[in-house]
Each structure stands twice: as structure tokens, then as C-alpha cells.
Symmetry: C2
Subunit: 443 residues, 2 copies
């Protein structure tokens, strides 16, 4: 089986250019390496670290020498993302054809379904190898990653969402925010397409509400302050008036959970579930969601299925990762969906199903964390093995590296496989002594 893996992330026209984050974007896209299989052709935004490729090949049992990596020349916007112009580059396409070497392309696996990936596949005579190619070719990927479209689809599917609305006009935004804040209720405002909570801001009428899952929290007292906030933020919130803005009630003290499905022509299937950890920005995750009561978990899985069925009817195929919160009252409310291979996908699909093995999630928990400091990927690998903390197939316990080396923060993410959460935290303490984990500023 020959697959083409394309590490394209959500197009920059959507998420908006954040120059400081560009290098991190290129790093983040490399998570696709963890999905490698024998004979894959990997298209990456930048040359991967050889030690990283080798490490992932080893933990996944992939024949390293069967892989081919192709990196297109930098594009109009640089080399941090696989933009449409890079995937259309004739020299690059020739290189992919060369890597194929006459083999038939059986499957195309993009991080994010985009028309540019369908065009690439079409140029290789393999449009049908892209899941949901027709939908993706007509910019459907944007619909499956929009926080605004999400709210309409979720509401339409009868899936609960926090009280709020989608606004496209600064006066509407102001009115909506004022209505909540006037009732003493904090709101979260969200850019339509940003990732990793980088497009979320918390607005509260009073001090003391911790901005979990938002890049910052602001106290706005009265209409004038709200008006000033909207006026000053509108261009950023709407990506230069291009997109809508979500304004929704913020529920302090909630847990963030998710169930991820795979959508194929055969239907929708639960692939993984877990809980996100924020400190206060995304910091890690626990799979499965061991902190959730069985009834709540069943509700989460069921409601997520309904949502996925609606997106399936829309034509989307691939991984869909909706996020939800569980409020202190036990209510499950959905907050967004992500129509792409997320940061959770390789945790359950690779560390869980391939490294640990079949039914892994029935006997092990996976605690993923960002921010293990190291000077390079190779040094991190060496330290991990020397420490004796590396994952051991015999005991089915230990630590797996789950990200490339982040050149901006000089950190790597890891995933602890353990019997339960206390055991995982104990292992983590030991890892912290090998090399400390970079902690977020707790504000």
C-alpha cells in the first residue's frame, strides 16, 4: 500500500498570519510523521530531523528505508506551511512522481482536507485517493474547521452549545457581549479559524475569572469599555473583516473533553476520547477521559456522534475532533470542531493502537504533555533511553516522544503510558529530574 501523507495545516488565509508563530506552525505540522507506515511518501513543510524520522520508524515498527520524504520549495508566504502554491510547484510534483516510482497511489492523507491537496492528487492521477475529495475540492475543509459554521451545524444537529451567537458586525458583537456582561456572566470571544486557543479571549465583568483556554482575560466594566474592546480588536477578531466571530458564554471551572471520530464513506466511527489539560493554555491531554463519569462519557460520545453524522452528511471525510466542556453542573456543551488530524489523533492511533497495541486504552492511560526541554531531538531520545523511562513493550509502561523538536521553545512533547493517572504522574516526576518541563506562565 502506497500512501501520500501531506502535512498541510489549516491555510494561513484562514488562521491569519502570525509571523512569530510561523516557525512553530512548521513544527506542529510534523506531527503527521507519527502517522507513518511502510512505503509512505511524506510531504513536509520543512526537512524533518533525521533522528525524529528514525525514532518514529522504530517505535511504530516502520521500515525506515521504505519511506520517502519530499519538501517543496518555499512559497509566496514562506516555508512554514504547505500552502497551495507550494503543493502546485511543478518541480515538487515531479519529485513526488519520482518518489512514487510508478507505484499506484492508494491513499492520500492530508492533515487538513484542502482543495490544494485534491489538486495535487489529481495531478498524480489519484484524486479518488483523497477521502472526501469532491467536498474538499470545493473548499469544504474550511467549513469543517470554522467555529462559526460549527455553531450552526451543532445547533442544527441538536447538540448542546454554550449560549451565544455568531456575529459579523461590530455593533452586534458589542450588543451580544454587553448582554452577557450586563447579566454578570463572562464570555469567550473566538476567531473563526484560529487554533490552539490562540484566537480566544475571555471577557469578564468582574476580576478573578481565570482565562482557561484563552490567550488572555480582560475585565470590561460597562458599555464604553466593551465598545473600546470591540473597536480595538475587530480587525484581529475578524482577520481583517474576512471572518465571523463567535461570542459565547464562558463557564468557569469546566473540564475540557473530546471524542474524536473517523468519517468514511461507510459512516462515522469513534476513534478516541480524552480530556484536555490547560495551564491555562493547552498543555496536555489524558486519554481516555478517566476523569469523566461513565454516564457523562456516554453522553459525550453520543452527542459527538450526532454532530459527526451531520458533518458526514455535509460531505466531509477524515478525522473530526469536536471539543466540549463539562460544566461544574455536569452539563456537556460543545465548543468547536476540528476537521483535521488533530494533536490527539496520533496519541490514540499511534501511541495507543500501534505502540502499546490492540485494546490499549482498556488497560493503559496515556498522558501527553508539551514542553519537555532538550537541546535537540536526538539528545532527548538519548536522555530518555538512558533514564530507563522510555516505553518498554514488555511492561507496557514508559514514555514515548510525540512531537518533533520545537525550535522556537526548544521543547518536545511526550506521552506517558501507565496503568493509571497517579502512576503516570509519578513517571512524569522522574522525567522532570532528567530534564525539566517548561511550565507556562500561570498568570
Amino acid at each position: 500500500m502506497t500512501r501520500l501523507l501531506v502535512a498541510n495545516d489549516v491555510p494561513e488565509q484562514l488562521v491569519g498570519a502570525i509571523p512569530a508563530m510561523r516557525e512553530a506552525l512548521g513544527w506542529w505540522a510534523q506531527r503527521l510523521i507519527w502517522h507513518m507506515q511502510d512505503d509512505d511518501i511524506l510531504v513536509l513543510p520543512t526537512e524533518p530531523d533525521a533522528s525524529c524520522l528514525k525514532y518514529v520508524a522504530k517505535i511504530t515498527g516502520t521500515r525506515h528505508e521504505s519511506l520517502r520524504v519530499v519538501v517543496p520549495p518555499a512559497g509566496r508566504a514562506g516555508a512554514h506551511n504547505l500552502s497551495a502554491d507550494r503543493l502546485a510547484d511543478p518541480g515538487f510534483r515531479a519529485a513526488v512522481r519520482d518518489a512514487l516510482g510508478g507505484r499506484r497511489l492508494d491513499a492520500v492523507l492530508p492533515l487538513c482536507p484542502d482543495a490544494s491537496v485534491v489538486a495535487l492528487a489529481r495531478s498524480l492521477g489519484a484524486e479518488g485517493a483523497v477521502p472526501g475529495a469532491a467536498f474538499a475540492s470545493q473548499s469544504g475543509g474550511a467549513l469543517a474547521n470554522s467555529k462559526a459554521v460549527f455553531r450552526a451545524v451543532a445547533a442544527g444537529a441538536g447538540v448542546p452549545v454554550p449560549e451565544g451567537s455568531v456575529v459579523g458586525d461590530p455593533l452586534d458583537a458589542e450588543d451580544t457581549i454587553a448582554e452577557f456582561l450586563g447579566r454578570g456572566v463572562p464570555v469567550i470571544v473566538k476567531k473563526e479559524y484560529a487554533q490552539g486557543c490562540n484566537g480566544n479571549e475571555l471577557l469578564s465583568p468582574v476580576a478573578g475569572v481565570k482565562p482557561i483556554g484563552a490567550r488572555r482575560g480582560l475585565v470590561l466594566e460597562g458599555r464604553t469599555a466593551i465598545k473600546r474592546y470591540v473597536t480595538e480588536s475587530w480587525d484581529w477578531l475578524t482577520n481583517g473583516e474576512r471572518h465571523k466571530v463567535v461570542v459565547e458564554r464562558y463557564h468557569p471551572g469546566s473540564r475540557a473533553v473530546f471524542a474524536e471520530y473517523v468519517l468514511t464513506d461507510q459512516g462515522v466511527e469513534l476513534a478516541g476520547q480524552g480530556e484536555l489539560v490547560a495551564a491555562p493554555m493547552p498543555d496536555g491531554q489524558v486519554l481516555p477521559a478517566v476523569g469523566l463519569a461513565p454516564v457523562a462519557l456516554a453522553q459525550l460520545v453520543d452527542a459527538t456522534r450526532r454532530l459527526c453524522e451531520a458533518v458526514h452528511a455535509l460531505g466531509y471525510r477524515g478525522t473530526l475532533g469536536p471539543d466540549a466542556i463539562v460544566t461544574p453542573d455536569g452539563e456537556i456543551l460543545f465548543t468547536e470542531y476540528n476537521g483535521r488530524i488533530t494533536g490527539s489523533t496520533h496519541i490514540y492511533a499511534t501511541v495507543g493502537a500501534r505502540v502499546v497495541g490492540k485494546e490499549a486504552m482498556r488497560r493503559r492511560i496515556l498522558l501527553e504533555r508539551q514542553g519537555w526541554t532538550a537541546p535537540s531531538f536526538q539528545v532527548a531520545v538519548d536522555r530518555l533511553f538512558e533514564s530507563g523511562l522510555a516505553y518498554n513493550p514488555a511492561t507496557e509502561v514508559g514514555i514515548v516522544l510525540v512531537s518533533a523538536f520545537n525550535p522556537v521553545y526548544k521543547v518536545i512533547s511526550y506521552c506517558i503510558v501507565a496503568e493509571d493517572l497517579p502512576a503516570a504522574l509519578e513517571l512524569e516526576e522522574r522525567l522532570d529530574k532528567v530534564s525539566p518541563r517548561a511550565r507556562q506562565d500561570q498568570g
Copy 2:
């Protein structure tokens, strides 16, 4: 049964402000009057012509005195459309409550599902009376009226669309247009939200392609001309960079047909079908689509159902009117959908089902035309009755007025009920002698 009819059209933030068309917009929204029933409360953008209300009450057998009309004060953008601020006006809401007079609101029928209508219904304690309220409250209406979203949903549902794509970047637009024109193939470019073909332009590599269904046709020879067109038109095409643009292959010599469905919680149901007449802009319609072979009609109805089922899964409720073309080769290709009460809805639902009666479309054809000249609605009614051409229930033949008086062009639309198309055209000739029909400039 007490219903609230809200003659809001697609929000101006979406279609873009066209000052010259504002008065026409207010006129066009009055088509909702033709949906009146006993005890309705009609919310209209401007005071209706009393003679028009009286006429429609008469032809539909509605007790005129049971109706209440409420017109909110002008809003920030004027009085031509029922914008969100107008529907939120406290005095207006009090007037609606007064018109209700304590009656329970059983149903809300907006022209176009919009969050502002849901907010109005909520303020009346009747949010549940709006079909698909949850979806509409989260700006779902925009999704059901976007020509860009349409292409993704249609492709996802396996419904055929003309070759083309959805672009969000001027360079992509240029590349896509150049690819078609380079092959000698004309394209139509479409604004995401415009109505009545006002957002469509035809681009051809050669002269002589008639721009049917487009506001103008341009001959673009070579890349430089294409670049200039895109550069000069981008702001207009994208409504100031707010929206996407559709670029698709144009098939000269095609017929424009439609099947309209009603989407309820129970499912989707075929409501009407017909053929649009352009000369070259929309000029009228024939219902049913008598010019279509039975096999082609069955294909149209089936494919439209698939599309409607996808939009139903999305959460939309109400009337959905997808448009398609039948190419000279007999291929049926879908070109857009309209998630609102269209200009066809009252033709089959009122003139057909209510004026003519049950199973009307099995024994009669309806030919609707725009542009009958008259100094006022009342004079048009008088002339129609004096001429003996007015619809006669005894013979089930004759002419029904189907629009308010258009104050910009001083015209009214009419619908001819006849046994077949030749008979309808004969009646039309006689009407033309009473008062001529304004013809479009045939370019």
C-alpha cells in the same frame, strides 16, 4: 392559527449594499404578502399598498380584516430591508405584541432564516415557532444561501456541479480563470451571496458568448487582461474581501431549471419545479418545467432531493430552492441553492395550490413574467379585470398579479394560468395590448 410572517430578505451585510437597488429590495420582499392566511401578522419593510393587500386577500380567500400589518421604524441602513436592528426595535416589538393581542404565536415564517428573526420570536416567547430556530440562531441562514458553501455541500452529496472551484485569493482566482480561458472555455464568476444573477459575470476568451444569467459578459484575451479584471473586480466580487468567489465553467445554450423542496423536522418534500426564463437577466418562469423530458425531470428532482437531504442534515428548515442547468448535451449541473422563500414559492404554492387549487400543476401551466407596466397596483388590477383577462375560477384560466408595484421600474409581475404554453403566450399577447410589458435590453 396565528402566524407571524417576516419579510426579511438576505441581510445586506451578505449581499452587499447597492444603493440603487435598495428601493427594489423593499419591493421584492413584499412577495411574502402572497403567502398570507387568515389571522396572519405581516411584518413588512415598508407600508404595503392597501390595494395590493386587498387583491391578494381576495385571490387567496383570506379574510382581509383578520390580518395585521406591522412596519418597524427605519434602521441604521434605512427602511428597504428588515435588518436586525429594525426587528429588535422595542417599539416595534411592542406593536407586534399588540397585534398578537394575547393570541399564541403558532408559526413564524421568515423569507430568510436569520438570527434576528429567532431573536424576535424569542422576545415573543415563541422561539420554537421558527422552523430550524437553533440553526438559524447561529447564522445558519448564511450557509443555506452561500454559493461557496453550496458547491462544497453539493460536491459532498454527490450532486453534479459545473467544473470549477471556490476561491478566496485573487491569485487563485486568476489561475483558475486563466486555466479555463486558456482551454477556450468561458467561465462565470459569482459573488458568494448576491441574488437574481446580480453578482454573476461571464468571462469568455472569445466574443459572441451571450451572458445569460450574468449582469454582463466580458471578453478577456490573455493573462494580462485576466489579471486586470481580477484586480479591478476583487473588491466587488468579495464584498470588500469579506466573502469567497465561485469560478465555474459556463455552458452556453443551457436551460435553467429548478426543483424546490420544503424541509421540515419530518424530512424533505418536493414542493414545486419549473424552468427559469432569462432575457438575459431573470425575466420569468414556467411551472412545471414542461420543456424538460420526463427522464431529465426525474433526474433533476432526485438530485435535488439528495442535495436537500444534506442541507436538512445540516439543520436548515424551510424552503430550499436549488437551481440547475441542463446543458445542450443533456447534463444536469447544479449552480446554486437558495435557502429562503424564493420568487417561485408563491407561484406554485399560492397561484397553483390555492388560487387554481389542488393538483393544479397536473392540469395547468403557470407562466410568470416580470415587468407589466402600470402607474399603480390599483390601476393594474382595474385594467386586468376590465380586460377580461383576470383569472377565472370557472375556466381555471387567466392572469394573476404576483408582485407588489415596483416603484423603481413602475412594473408589476403577473402569472398566466393556462392549459399549455402556447395558450399562455396567446393570453400574454392580449395582455400586452392592454399595457405593454417592459422588455430588457437584449444587449
